[in-house]
């Protein structure tokens, strides 16, 4: 069997990827997020100048400005922006409650980065921290949120759906409801405190059943690794409600990886950063590796940073810690080149 031509195949796939483009919902959601970010900066939208208006004309001009602003402002329903609407849309807003009575509409909440599509009667409202589904079926696309950013929240009758960037559908009835996850990850936080994670393809109904005994509890995050407990009313197999993948822990990175990183920093001439990274890593690595890293640090101080006092001090520490070691000759040469004095430049290898 002949090997396939990597370049040719990769190019073909690139063409397909370019043709696929960016789905409209995602495009709108990203734009909403960008607007949120750049809106926080100064002077995003130039303010209308009112300073020079003569006092007597303020009233009339203000009315004109308000009229123009009203005409120019994007269409809104309540606190949400309308980005698409069907011709037959009939919707009204009462005390902040947006009621879609007929037709289809796509709404964007730029604060939370949510795009919400309604194509059948539904009711929802913007609330602090998110959007509440009062009734009906709504499709959500939520722009991906950075790790550490607060989740976007969709409030429902018996809890809240917390989202880090995903696509899902909510059906809210009078006595309960359901969420169906299409993509990404969501966390349902019941009003009783139970937490259930959903994975793509799964759905969850509420209200949740009464809490199970502790050993079968579905509340998460679980304290220990996944004793595969069944989740309440989730479909499509065991949803394995579990904590999200742990983020950075205090585990040292591998030596290979660290050396790659150092090489990259060296390549960029970011020697001080490379030295910092090495200094932090040396103590975390086993002796053979830490000796290598210590040697790298000494080389940086000697040849790139050209800092004789620190380099000499480092080589002395290196010799105390590793004795002669693998780099004995190189260390001695470096010390001689630096003119290190009062140290161990001329000591016999291995002496403390």
């Amino acid at each position: 069997m002949t090997a396939r031509d990597f370049e040719a195949e990769l190019r073909r796939e690139e063409v397909a990827r370019q043709a696929e483009g960016l789905p409209d919902g995602v495009r709108r959601a990203i734009w909403a997020r960008i607007e949120g970010t750049i809106g926080a900066g100064a002077g995003r939208r130039p303010r209308r100048a009112v300073v020079l208006v003569p006092v007597l004309a303020v009233g009339g001009l203000a009315a004109v400005i308000l009229l123009v602003a009203g005409l120019r402002a994007p269409a809104r329903l309540g606190e949400l922006e309308v980005v698409r609407r069907s011709r037959d849309l009939r919707a009204r807003v009462e005390s902040g409650l947006i009621q879609v009575e007929r037709g289809a509409v796509t709404l964007v909440d730029s604060t939370s980065g949510m795009t919400i599509e309604a194509d059948e009667p539904a009711a929802l409202r913007r609330e602090s921290g998110g959007v509440r589904v009062v009734r009906g079926r709504l499709d959500f696309v939520v722009a991906h949120r950075r790790t550490g950013a607060p989740p976007a929240t969709v409030f429902v009758s018996h809890g809240a759906i917390e989202v880090m960037g995903t696509a899902f559908t909510v059906l809210q009835g009078t006595a309960g409801g359901e969420v169906r996850l299409r993509e990404g990850i969501i966390r349902f936080r019941g009003s009783e405190g139970a937490v259930v994670w959903l994975h793509p393809g799964e759905s969850l109904s509420w209200p949740l059943p009464a809490p199970a005994p502790p050993e079968n509890s579905t509340a998460v995050p679980p304290p220990a690794p996944a004793p595969a407990a069944p989740a309440p009313r989730t479909t499509r197999g065991a949803p394995s409600p579990s904590r999200p993948p742990p983020e950075a822990a205090a585990t040292p990175r591998s030596a290979e990886e660290l050396l790659d990183h150092i090489e990259e920093l060296r390549s960029r001439h970011e020697y001080a950063a490379a030295a910092r990274a090495l200094r932090q890593a040396i103590a975390l690595q086993p002796p053979p590796t830490s000796e290598r890293l210590s040697f790298e640090l000494g080389s940086l101080l000697t040849h790139q940073l050209r800092d004789p006092p620190r380099a000499c001090a480092h080589w002395r520490r290196h010799q105390r810690q590793f004795g002669g070691g693998r780099y004995r000759d190189e260390v001695t040469r470096a010390q001689q080149a630096l003119g290190c004095t009062g140290g161990s430049a001329n000591r016999a290898p291995g002496t403390p």
Partner: protein
């Protein structure tokens, strides 16, 4: 449609949105090369690139916008992938310690779904930096020198990344013969 971005007109935001509408798909496609099927990751790149474009809107010349966006996208992807490599290994290590089931986050699932294309999947299997460098070399036809300039790396380091990535792909059974033709020559320029 290429109008200069440099303007104090009140319609600047609208013009910027036009710019976004024009290039967002392209930036997303560039980012998706390296995303391993993670739509959210590529979306993050699009967001970051356009926020940066907004900050530099007074310096951008319209004729250069696409090249500027390309450069910023590649650099952002390169930086993020460099950081991720460490975080990913930490996650795996911690999960192994907990005897948890193999990593199966929703993002993993998306990777599986969307990286079905064979060559793209092979590219995704490479460490992030090799991924970007090989992508630039193969898909954008950049020379190693051009890649080094674009990513602010030394040519030697780029060469090493290319060699490593190529070797891994060859070891995985791919034909990489074309690689030799571009050892040091000029590239075809950005897409």
């Amino acid at each position: 449609m290429t109008r200069p971005l440099r303007s104090d007109a009140p319609a600047l935001t609208e013009r910027f949105e036009e710019l976004y509408q024009q290039y967002a798909g392209q930036v997303f496609a560039w980012a998706s090369r390296y995303a391993g099927g993670r739509s959210g990751w590529a979306q993050d790149i699009v967001h970051d690139v356009f926020v940066r474009a907004w900050k530099h809107r007074h310096e951008l010349r319209d004729a250069d916008v696409k090249a500027w966006l390309f450069r910023v996208t590649q650099n952002r992807a390169f930086s993020l992938l460099s950081r991720e490599r460490t975080a990913g290994r930490l996650r795996q290590a911690v999960q192994l310690l907990w005897h948890a089931e193999p990593p199966r986050t929703p993002e993993d699932a998306l990777v599986t779904q969307r990286s079905a294309s064979a060559a793209t999947a092979a590219l995704q299997s490479l460490p992030g930096q090799e991924r970007v460098v090989l992508g630039l070399k193969i898909l954008d036809g950049l020379s190693q020198r051009e890649i080094a300039t674009l990513l602010s790396l030394s040519e030697g380091y780029v060469s090493k990344l290319v060699a490593r990535g190529t070797a891994r792909l060859a070891a995985a059974g791919w034909s990489m013969d074309r690689d030799d033709r571009d050892r040091s020559g000029g590239g075809r320029g950005t897409s």
